[in-house]
């Protein structure tokens, strides 16, 4: 016999809890299902040194702001988990922890949500299970010779847990550059394979770059105003680290002694072959960064051109081939992105690339909603504080569906 509830929210991270906040405000009875503990991903599935990329003053959830002593600092993963955990407490969210959803399917009246702790029948479902449930590893990993340790960011904890020897870090988004830097600082040789990436300085004209993006309205841009939304949603995370004043672009990394190479193309006969296009992906990133900074200056009425950033320095002849059998490389870290996991979703709303089909959080199946995905309704949806507007919208849409409007 299934339990009945109006709304099931899947996932007790910041998105699911924000949804719960607005559902409670509207007195819509609901349950928040969490496979592990509240903010599980932050507690269990990230490396030790990870800090949030957004400064503390920017970290707010609906009705809950950072109140600590360091507004310009960056929370550790553990502090983020506690921040979200505190939010669950103050909002008295009806969270059911250690309950894994095994399937969601359509019924006549809505949806049946099956879990390892029993089934629920509901009218509406909010999917807030996260965008980064599993690491993405390219197919060519199958060609890595035996004897090389391969890690994803889910398994990597710190440099001390790596075998001695050189490390190939594949991917130069936030994850890749952060891991390349700390592994290099541990004394190991590091080769970093760089594809298209987003270069950003940590601070610009004395303020956090995210302050500028907030103030100039970059993040307020609505999803339906973005020319290439699919691209915006799959954009890699910027080369940032949560360390005050610390820029972690490729120039900083080569300064540490990290060797940049092109995008990993294939592994053939035990050798990694890299694209010869490193120079162009760096040019693209430099041009985009300068355009962004020029936009900040325009907004601020400063006319003398973006200040103080040199083009990315590239070796004269970046290596195109790295022998993985020669002993130079002991470990490969796949910092090649994350994907959501919807294997439990038995509703045909996932596209051929494994992404949820939705229009600003309204999923292509009546009564089904999504929250906590990149650029869901605005560019800032990708960030913690972007959830407020999104969750408010979804709760309103959901409520209107439950109570059809009276036409006067």
């Amino acid at each position: 016999m299934s339990q009945r509830v109006t709304t099931v929210v899947i996932g007790a991270g910041h998105a699911g809890l924000a949804a719960s906040h607005f559902l409670s405000e509207r007195s819509i009875d609901h349950i928040v299902l969490e496979r592990g503990r509240i903010a599980n991903t932050w507690r269990r599935e990230r490396w030790d040194s990870l800090r949030l990329l957004t400064p503390n003053w920017l970290n707010r959830l609906p009705g809950h702001a950072y109140g600590g002593p360091d507004p310009d600092g960056y929370m550790t993963a553990g502090q983020v988990a506690d921040f979200i955990g505190d939010y669950a407490t103050v909002t008295a969210a009806p969270v059911r922890e250690n309950t894994t959803v095994t399937s969601v399917r359509r019924t006549d009246g809505g949806y049946q949500v099956c879990t390892d702790e029993g089934d629920l029948d509901c009218v509406t479902v909010v999917i807030a299970s996260g965008a980064c449930n599993a690491p993405v590893v390219p197919e060519c990993a199958a060609g890595v010779p035996d004897g090389i340790t391969q890690l994803t960011p889910f398994e990597y904890r710190n440099p001390g847990s790596l075998p001695d020897g050189g490390v190939l870090v594949v991917g130069a988004s936030a994850t890749g550059v952060q891991l390349a830097a700390e592994v290099r600082r541990s004394g190991r040789p590091v080769v970093l394979s760089v594809g298209e990436h987003v270069r950003l300085p940590r601070t610009y004209r004395g303020r956090d770059v995210l302050w500028w993006m907030d103030a100039t309205g970059v993040w307020a841009q609505s999803y339906d105003e973005i020319e290439d939304l699919a691209r915006a949603r799959r954009l890699p995370s910027p080369q940032l680290v949560g360390e005050p004043g610390t820029t972690i672009d490729l120039n900083a990394l080569t300064g540490l002694g990290v060797e940049p190479v092109g995008r990993l193309a294939v592994i053939r006969d035990g050798a990694a072959l890299f694209s010869g296009g490193l120079r162009n992906v760096c040019s693209l990133a430099d041009l985009k960064m300068r355009r962004l900074l020029a936009g900040f200056d325009e907004w601020a009425g400063i006319g003398d051109g973006p200040a103080g950033f040199e083009p990315t320095r590239i070796p004269a002849a970046p290596r195109l081939r790295l022998d993985l059998r020669g002993g130079e490389i002991a470990t490969i870290i796949w910092a090649t992105g994350f994907r959501p996991d919807y294997r439990w979703l038995d509703v045909p709303v996932v596209d051929e690339k494994g992404r949820l089909r939705h229009d600003g959080g309204v999923v292509d199946s009546p009564g089904l909603y999504a929250l906590g995905l990149p650029v869901l309704r605005r560019r800032r949806s990708t960030l913690l504080h972007g959830i407020e507007d999104d969750a408010r919208f979804v709760a309103r849409h959901l409520a209107e569906r439950l109570t059809p409007r009276v036409v006067a």
Partner: protein, 182 residues
Amino acid sequence: MTTTDNGVNVQALLDAREALKGAPEAAQFTWRATSTWKNGVHSTTTIQNFFGLGQEQSHKTKTEFTADHPEIFAAEDNGITPIEYLLVGLAGCLTAGVASVAQNRGIQLRSVTSTVEGNHDIRGILGADSDVRNGFNDVKVTFTIDADASREEIEALVAQSQKRSAVYDALTNPTSVTVEVA
């Protein structure tokens, strides 16, 4: 609204992009060349037909290319060296990209010229040093562009044309090549 005219039908390209998103089979093309040995290191290659959009297609005319080697290679120099055809391909592809991206961005071009240089250590092909590769050591392309745009916008055109170039990709990334005897 825009009066930019670089002679590129960008709308047709954008329409094709949308149409092919849902029809990956139609997007599969096969380009074909047929080559015949003449004498010495001289050969001719003709190109007319290709496959795409689900069926056989044909260029308006057949084009013949002559490949040979210069006299300092002890050859007759009936035509350019095969590796120089790679420069032709790269220049043609990147230039087409510049024009297309400029059209899409509303940038009027007045002139686009480029020089493409491939640095080549021929000790590789001669077998004189086994550490030297057969192909180019590196390739350098220099564009000179006159357009209604800032230097930064022009640099962005050139960067974007590399990002979407078939020949740039074919030269910068490994490609699996099968050569067999029929």
